[in-house]
């Protein structure tokens, strides 16, 4: 199993430094909540989509979006139930199918959901997980938290692999005529294997010098060329969205 959504590339968004990228993503998500016009909704929905298509290609963009489509369709199907006492836009045999307020509400939610999902996916698609964590460290999240996050990224695929190994060997031990695998013993085995790792991992951290004083502090991210320009672009776009709405 793969925990990394990262797709290798050299697009402008790949080359964008992680620090302005993080802030820009955050600001964009905030902006997505505060849009007040149909044009704003459009921009929130389309902007990350366009950047995504430009940086990871149309196929990958469609893959991300196709996961959201069913949800959008369900939301749109709920239009008739929204704001039933509002201005009627469409009616069939006197039954109000859509009201102005109902459509507004649902479209706002769809744009918000789509915008936020795409912006966050875009971050995960164009940055390695390790780099996102390094970026977060630049904003002074505690060292222990960053360390924990890095370790989580190692344990998720490992435990996933371990589980398929356990399920495989369970099926090797099955009696004749039975199929599948017994769920409870398998997840118990996985939980035990995981818990066993806790003291060993803690000891391993210490054997590698965790807790020593005088850790090197020069392992920070370097500043790439055009760093300030990137900050500028990263901030201006979502902020102008916020102002225009």
């Amino acid at each position: 199993m793969n925990v990394s959504s990262y797709i290798y590339g050299t697009s402008f968004y790949h080359r964008f430094d992680i620090r302005p990228k993080l802030v820009s993503t955050l600001l964009f998500c905030a902006a997505a909540f505060l849009m007040e016009s149909y044009i704003g909704f459009m921009v929130v929905l389309v902007l990350p989509l366009a950047v995504m298509a430009a940086s990871v290609g149309a196929r990958e963009t469609w893959r991300c979006w196709s996961r959201l489509l069913p949800l959008f369709l369900i939301l749109l199907a709920f239009i008739p139930l929204q704001a039933r006492d509002g201005d009627v836009l469409v009616s069939i045999n006197g039954f109000a199918v859509a009201t102005r307020e109902g459509v507004w509400m649902v479209v706002r939610i769809v744009s918000r959901l789509g915008g936020i999902s795409c912006a966050l996916m875009l971050l995960l698609l164009t940055e390695r997980n390790e780099n996102i964590i390094r970026g977060l460290r630049a904003f002074h999240i505690p060292y222990a938290a960053a360390l924990t996050a890095s370790m989580i990224l190692r344990f998720i695929p490992y435990l996933g692999m371990l589980f398929s190994a356990i399920r495989d060997s369970m099926s090797l031990r099955l009696e004749e005529g039975k199929r599948g695998y017994p769920v409870l013993p398998s997840i118990t085995a996985l939980a035990v294997a995981a818990i066993r790792m806790i003291p060993e991992t803690a000891a391993s951290l210490e054997e590698r010098g965790f807790g020593r004083k005088g850790r090197s502090t020069d392992d920070r991210l370097p500043r790439p060329r055009g760093y300030f320009l990137q900050w500028l672009i990263g901030a201006i776009i979502p902020i102008s969205l916020l102002i225009v709405r």
Binding site: L172, A193, E206
Partner: protein, 441 residues
């Protein structure tokens, strides 16, 4: 000079060491040979501070290195004095990328960026891992993980290197290289092993055994020449025109992995040996033969009838490299009873494999867990079995006893091994996977 006297017992467990005394002069390359469960890993962990640590247990004694007692130092401060590579590499792997894994201890040492970079590239290239800098650790094979952990230790470069079964999982090529690296190393090395490998000869200056009160001379490093009778039966398992494909590495440059097996067959009661480099596809072929992996093309046939994946699982036992992946229940007895075997045969197997029915599976050492795994599949009585590097972490006589028990029952056994001595000592044909193709040699 390391001068130590150590006592240790696990919580709720018996004493592992009682005033255990030993001395190692500096610069010495010491190889300690002992059977599984005798405390090799425990001793290694005690020296680096991984025990008692968070696992509990009572330790007592001293280990003086240049008149400084390392046992009384916190583990984090010992790292310049002593470091280890563990037998189970997964228990020490901390991060998701090779780069993070190797730079973490160097950052903790407080080295500057230039020195870190120098050590990282030196030790990665020493173990042939330069290409893997940005690769995710979850995509490394067992042998590659072992080399990574060795690279981490060599980058830290402590006074004493402790290598716990570090030749395990390495291909013959890397075993030879590691032996040469150890020989040329200007540090004290204490290596633990369960049996003597051919490659050990040139690397170590002294071979000893783990005795009750201390290190004792190794009784005999000579491989007993076994005489295992094969009783060929009538059942025949054949693999025909098989092609296996697997996408191998998502971020590397190795692309799709492909293995072709034109034809190979094994009779019940027969023993055959399968050799090949790390990552050549030995385990993949095993997984197809026992029905855990689907083939791209071709078939697996038992006595003329083509087997589905499900039928293969009931015909071919697969003893995986890591025994813990096949053990799930609380105690040894629970595990053996789950096979549905009679009390009589369970008793017999317990005696044969020197197992204690009441022992907790999760507290067994790696080698003993392998013995339990072997006992388990023996009771399941599958007509064929695949031993995936079972000889590592077991002494020769234990391994041979297991093999004999299987062959004696008329099971056809395919032995996968990296140990050239084992390969030539046991009976049967030899097969080799080279350049994606299996052939007899």
């Amino acid at each position: 000079m390391l001068d130590a006297e150590i006592s240790f017992s696990y919580e709720k467990g018996p004493k592992v060491f009682d005033h255990f005394r030993f001395r190692v002069s500096s610069g010495e390359k010491l190889l300690v040979i002992a059977p599984p469960g005798s405390g090799k890993t425990t001793l290694a962990k005690l020296l680096t501070g991984a025990l008692p640590s968070y696992s509990g247990g009572n330790s007592d004694g001293y280990a003086r290195l240049d008149s400084m007692d390392i046992l009384s130092m916190p583990a984090a401060l010992r790292m310049e004095r002593v470091g280890r590579v563990s037998q189970n590499t997964d228990e020490m792997l901390l991060f998701s990328s090779v780069m993070e894994e190797i730079s973490f201890p160097l950052v903790n040492l407080g080295l500057d960026a230039e020195e870190r970079e120098r050590r990282i590239s030196d030790s990665l290239s020493l173990f042939g891992l330069e290409r893997y800098r940005d690769v995710s650790t979850s995509e490394l094979s067992g042998g590659e993980k072992r080399r990574l952990m060795l690279a981490v230790l060599f980058a830290v470069d402590p006074d004493i290197y402790i290598l716990d079964e570090s030749f395990d999982e390495l291909s013959p090529l890397w075993r030879e290289r590691l032996a040469a690296i150890i020989r040329d190393l200007d540090r004290t090395v204490i290596a633990f092993g369960s049996h003597v490998l051919k490659e050990y000869d040139e690397a170590f200056s002294k071979v000893i055994a783990l005795g009750r009160d201390g290190l004792v001379p190794c009784p005999s490093a000579v491989l007993p020449s076994p005489c295992i009778p094969e009783r060929h039966g009538s059942s025949l398992l054949t693999v025909d025109d098989l092609m296996i494909e697997r996408s191998h590495r998502s971020s590397g440059d190795l692309g799709t992995f492909r293995l072709i097996v034109p034809h190979f067959g094994i009779r019940s009661g027969e023993c055959a040996v399968l050799l090949g480099e790390n990552g050549s596809g030995k385990s993949t072929l095993s997984r197809v033969m026992c029905g855990l992996l689907e083939e791209r093309k071709g078939q697996v046939i038992l006595d003329g009838a083509r087997l589905s994946c499900r039928e293969r699982r009931h015909s071919v036992a697969y003893l995986m490299q890591n025994p813990y992946e096949e053990l799930f229940l609380p105690t040894v007895l629970d595990e053996l009873r789950s096979t549905g075997a009679s009390a009589d045969s369970i008793d017999k197997v317990l005696g044969l494999f020197h197992l204690d029915g009441n022992e907790y599976v999760q507290e067994m050492s790696y080698g003993r867990a392998k013995m339990l795994q072997a006992a388990l599949f023996l009771l399941l009585e599958r007509p064929f079995a695949i031993f995936d590097e079972m000889d590592s972490a077991l002494p020769y006589d234990c391994f041979l006893a297991v093999l004999e028990a299987y062959l004696g029952k008329g099971t056809g056994v395919l032995v996968i091994t990296h140990d050239t001595r084992i390969a030539s000592a046991i009976p049967g044909r030899r097969m080799m996977i080279e350049e994606g193709c299996l052939h007899e040699c």
